[in-house]
């Protein structure tokens, strides 16, 4: 079973945390810090598995992680999961994110936390692998987007209009927020080999 899925950047800033086992909010934050500490001190090119930290359950659990450019993807799993299988699952997750966001980068995860959660939910449910077929996952996400669009087209328009009026005093904000317009330069992820 997958106990937790964590994404944080090279400085330990959490970008996604999903716990499938109940921990208090405080403990969750401590686990993120502990995991970052364990993972970030490891060299590149060492193995991708290590024993879990004390907070998440010690040596009964393994941390399986991958490091992509600025982000660490860490899955904490118990002994019933195949290490290499989870490693591939991380890859599928990232490839799916890449398809959904087109050259995914850290900023995408920051500004679309809800989307990232939705994508993850198509792959992992209650700590078990739900779907590994990338095409199937992307199809589901596409369908969700269509639903969203159609709702936005019919009923969402008034809401948007109201919201636009409320923000009248901020005319310099463009109508459609484009990530590229915010002047923060973030290196893109390398394309997947």
């Amino acid at each position: 079973m997958i106990k937790a899925i964590l994404i944080f950047n090279n400085h330990g800033k959490p970008r996604l945390s999903k716990f499938y086992q109940r921990y208090s909010e405080d403990t969750q934050q401590q686990i993120i810090r502990e995991t970052f500490h364990l993972v970030s001190k490891r060299d590149e090119n060492v193995c991708n598995f290590l024993e879990g930290g004390l907070l998440i359950g010690g040596s009964d659990n393994k941390l399986i992680y991958r490091h992509y450019a600025t982000l660490y993807f860490v899955f904490c799993v118990d002994s019933s999961e195949s290490e290499l299988g989870i490693l591939d699952l991380i890859q599928v997750f990232v490839e799916t994110l890449d398809k959904c966001f087109e050259n995914v980068c850290e900023l995408d995860l920051i500004f679309h936390v809800d989307k990232v959660h939705n994508i993850l939910a198509e792959m992992v449910m209650g700590g078990m692998v739900l779907e590994t077929n990338m095409n199937e996952i992307v199809t589901q996400i596409d369908a969700q987007n269509k639903l969203e669009k159609s709702e936005a087209g019919l009923a969402g328009a008034p809401a948007r209009a109201v919201s636009a009026v409320k923000n009248m005093n901020l005319p310099e904000i463009p109508r459609n927020i484009n990530i590229g317009d915010i002047s923060i330069k973030v290196p893109n992820l390398p394309t997947f080999k």
Binding site: E25, S59, D88, M125, M128, D142, I173
Partner: protein
């Protein structure tokens, strides 16, 4: 086209996130967040109803704030409201919020459950999916109560869509994990098993996960899944890589499903049906064969997926442990991986080999890789991998390679990561003991451990080496010599001082013949470390010194000088001070014989299981060590048999042997008894004593009793407050759980007990304390066994001196043999006469003139003792009556009371009749 276009986000959310990211300091960030929280709170509380879009935006902001590590204590209600929206986007964000920020507020759970119920009934697959996700992610008991009956129906219904089936399977699995009692088994179970045949591989994957978990608890119920899983696996393994289309991952057909199926099969023994079994063997062979084929892609994903299946297949082969051919092939495959350039594969190969090492078919094959594993220990850059190498070396160790493996582990220990040192120390200690043919090697190994990693050597380890040295006289001389040499090092670890102190205190005499390790040199060596050590170690060394007094009388004065020094006798630490005082006194007053008895060499320790093993088990968690140990033990007896003469010795030390349970934990309880005297003579008291803690003082850990368990005994009785008269029954019952203490006490007499037991034999010391200031005469305690008791209990009582001086204590030894179990307690009958003092109070018959009184006392023939009595008005006299046969000492005291015109006369002689007669005679004179 990307599935998520980057421009469709919520503007307010994007602005807020950008603000946070632009904050220059943590304080600014917190300030911005607090501002936003206040804003959202006011929006939620405001009387204007928020539209769905706004609610969604604010909930997203809260999620973001939560991710940054801030507690969110509101918004739950708004999220619940979103659940009942008909719009997908709003419903989705509501569910997301609840999944991430569940609150155990029962009122909310009820509302959430209501919304879930509606969505499950909606027949809208998207809404059903959201609801099932929510149940699976929260997985609370309340949810299990509400939905555990419903979900199996959704799972097996014919018209349920595939994606919903997948979700339903995992949702049920989650509920079963959290509340197995609420998930009823029933008709649906057989239909779930048939999902293994489903067309949709996603459904099969989810169903396999569910069945694997259910089958672990209910193997009978899901037995039919074995053949279905085998045929499914067979179809996947033999399919061309394109057959499964989307479920082919980098040219590997359905790797996740294959892994899950192989896991499911590990819940069961090898299939009994030969056809199924043959088919499975074929599958496993195919998987092993494929590993040898050239890769279809250079991508790491290809090799990962392929090897994930391969490792799972090997796990199944090891689990079945029945096909020697497959086991050896598996071992060879892992052997290849040990040298693979991928670190991940080396790691997993080491891990799998650990379990393989415990299989009797492949143990020898695993051993052939020893050089590679040792090399891994030396060259791997990654501590995770090195740790697996240590585990594997430990698992593959047997008598043939123990010396090499222990040497390599010791070698590695010098540079090992701090995080794994303690574990390595424990492993080395266990292996060294378990496979010691030659105990000198064992002693060397442990001393090396202390030298290399003293800080990581726990008490269990050094206790154990002492136990073994004490129990094996063939190694004692060597141990003494070795610790003596090790102590020569200018800086040695305190643990070495402890071991050295203990061993030289016991066996220093064995090397004292050599002038280079003469008694004085030994003592000076130890004492040179003394001041650098902690209090417990110094306490131990003091005990060593008093043992030296016995071993080496020639250095007694040197040791006494040390004990007498201010730094000892006036040490601020009460334990050290007490030891110094007691040992000094003991060495001064005790005769050589007594010293030799008190400071005798420690008796052998009871043979018992090494506590180190227990510690390792505790450290590694249950299962990991135990199973291996058990299996290995069996195997070594199978394979090695009794051909190796040393195996007897080794196993005697390392395994618990209930038949030689010297601790007496399992022995039948023994019974002691002692009745106290009462005014009428003898009140009967039962004493019942258990033998449980008998040997405790001998363990090396209990430094307190290190050298002289007997020293304490004389104090035992006086520990109780002397003035109180305890209820005899109450005191008696205390002995159910302890061996020492006060059995009885009244104004005249205190009876204390101290007892120890070895198996069916026991020895009890009864201490009789005379609490009066006068002698007890004819003191005769007798222990009586009733007729019923006699066949079960043998008691031998040594007679006691019939006179007990006032304030003195006598000791009686009772040897006990428990022949068989018994109920009733023996009886202790005590008789004595305290009367040799006679007193009389009488009216003055003459004027109370001090001078005349003095003259009369002197005239009576006794000496008048002035200034003896604290009261100067009293008269005290003393004299001796000489007869031909004996001399009778006489003491007298006359206390005048002028006001009352009375005297009190007290006579005490060594013979009662004399006291009586003298009192009569003198009472008439004053």
């Amino acid at each position: 086209m990307p599935a998520v276009s980057k421009g469709d986000g919520m503007r307010g959310l994007a602005v807020f996130i950008s603000d946070i990211r632009n904050c220059k300091s943590k304080e600014a960030e917190i300030k911005r967040i607090n501002k936003e929280l206040a804003n959202i709170r006011s929006k939620f509380k405001g009387d204007k109803a928020l539209d769905g879009y706004s609610k969604k935006k604010y909930v997203c902001k809260l999620l973001f704030i939560f991710l940054l590590g801030h507690d969110i204590d509101f918004g739950h209600m708004e999220a619940v409201n979103l659940l009942s929206s008909n719009r997908y986007t709003e419903k989705q964000i509501g569910y997301l919020f609840i999944s991430v920020l569940v609150n155990s507020n029962s009122e909310l759970i009820r509302l959430i459950n209501n919304a879930i119920k509606n969505d499950l009934a909606s027949r809208n697959p998207t809404f059903m999916g959201l609801a099932l996700h929510c149940i699976a992610n929260v997985g609370s008991r309340e949810m299990a109560e509400a939905f555990a009956g419903e979900i199996p129906k959704i799972l097996v219904a014919g018209d349920t869509m595939d994606s919903v089936k997948q979700s339903a399977a995992l949702c049920l699995l989650r509920l079963y994990r959290t509340s197995p009692d609420l998930v009823p088994m029933g008709d649906w179970t057989s239909r779930v098993v048939h999902l293994l045949n489903d067309q949709h591989l996603g459904v099969v994957t989810a169903a396999t996960s569910l069945i694997t978990t259910l089958a672990q608890k209910n193997p009978e119920e899901f037995k039919t899944s074995v053949s279905l899983a085998v045929s499914r696996l067979s179809r996947i393994v033999t399919s061309a890589s394109t057959d499964l289309q989307d479920y082919t991952y980098y040219f590997v057909p359905a790797p996740w499903l294959s892994v899950k199926l192989l896991r499911l099969l590990q819940c069961y023994p090898p299939p009994e049906d030969p056809a199924v079994r043959g088919r499975l063997t074929e599958c496993l062979e195919t998987i092993l064969n494929k590993a040898q084929e050239p890769p279809k892609s250079k991508k790491v994903q290809h090799s990962n997926a392929k090897n994930a299946v391969l490792f799972e297949a090997i796990s199944l082969i090891i689990h079945h442990d029945s096909e020697p051919n497959l086991l050896v092939r598996a071992c060879n495959q892992l052997g290849q991986f040990l040298q693979h350039r991928e670190t991940n594969l080396r790691y997993l190969a080491l891990e799998s080999m650990c379990t393989l090492a415990s299989s009797e078919f492949s143990h020898e094959a695993v051993k052939t890789h020893i050089e590679t594993v040792i090399n891994a220990l030396k060259t791997e850059r990654d501590v995770s991998v090195r740790q697996r190498a240590v585990d594997l070396l430990y698992a593959m160790c047997d008598r043939s390679n123990a010396q090499q493996i222990v040497a390599e582990m010791l070698n590695y220990l010098e540079t090992a990561d701090y995080s794994i040192r303690e574990e390595i120390v424990l492993k080395v200690a266990i292996l060294a003991e378990k496979y010691a043919v030659d105990y000198t090697w064992y002693v060397d190994t442990i001393l090396n451990l202390i030298r290399i990693a003293g800080d990581y050597v726990s008490e269990e380890v050094w206790y154990r080496v002492i136990q073994i040295v004490i129990n094996r006289d063939d190694v004692q001389g060597y141990a003494a010599k070795t610790v003596f040499e090790a102590l020569q090092a200018p800086a040695c670890h305190e643990n070495l001082v402890k071991v050295g102190g203990y061993i030289l205190g016991e066996f220093g005499n064995l090397i004292a013949g050599d002038p280079r390790s003469s008694p004085l040199i030994q003592f000076n060596l130890l004492h040179s470390k003394f001041h650098l050590c902690s209090v417990p170690t110094r306490a131990l060394l003091l005990s060593t010194y008093i043992k030296f007094v016995n071993l080496f009388p020639e250095i007694k004065t040197t040791i006494q000088d040390v004990l007498r020094s201010d730094s000892q006798l006036k040490n601020a630490d009460v334990e050290l001070q007490q030891r110094a005082v007691e040992y000094l006194r003991l060495s001064t007053i005790a005769s050589t014989d007594i010293l030799a008895t008190v400071l005798e060499e420690m008796p052998p320790f009871p043979e018992r299981e090494s506590s180190i093993l227990a510690k390792l088990k505790k450290k590694k968690g249950p299962g990991t060590v135990t199973d291996l140990e058990e299996i290995k033990k069996e195997r070594s007896s199978d394979m090695n048999g009794s051909a190796e003469p040393a195996s007897v010795n080794a196993s005697a030390v390392s395994t618990p042997s209930p038949s030689a349970d010297l601790l007496g934990l399992g022995a039948a309880p023994l019974t002691n008894s002692a009745p106290p005297p009462s005014s009428s003579g003898s009140l009967l008291v039962d004493v019942f004593s258990d033998s449980a803690s008998a040997v405790a003082p001998l363990a090396p850990g209990s430094d307190d009793n290190f050298a002289s368990p007997d020293l304490a005994s004389s104090e035992v009785v006086s520990e109780e407050p002397a003035d109180t008269v305890h209820d005899a029954d109450e005191l008696f019952h205390k002995f159910v759980c302890k061996n020492n203490g006060v059995l009885f006490e009244n104004q005249l007499l205190q009876i204390g007990l101290k007892s120890e037991f070895r198996q069916n034999l026991g020895r009890m010391f009864i201490f009789y304390g005379n609490k009066t200031s006068t002698q007890f005469l004819n003191f005769t305690p007798t222990v009586i066994c009733s007729d019923d008791l006699q066949p079960s209990l043998n008691l031998q009582t040594k007679p006691v001196d019939p006179t007990v001086d006032g304030g003195a204590q006598v000791q009686q030894v009772v040897n006990i043999e428990c022949v068989s179990d018994f109920m009733e307690a023996p009886i202790l009958n005590i008789q004595f006469s305290p009367k040799q003092e006679v007193q009389n109070i009488f009216k003055a018959k003459h004027p109370m003139d001090a001078e005349i009184t003095k003259a009369k006392i002197i005239g009576f023939g006794s000496a008048l003792l002035e200034e003896v009595d604290p009261n100067p008005a009293n008269f005290v006299g003393a004299g001796i009556i000489h007869t031909k046969t004996t001399q009778i000492g006489c003491l007298l005291r006359l206390e005048p009371n002028l006001q009352a015109q009375m005297y009190r006369l007290t006579l005490r002689t060594s013979k009662e009749a004399v006291s009586q007669r003298l009192c009569e005679l003198l009472s008439e004179q004053f």
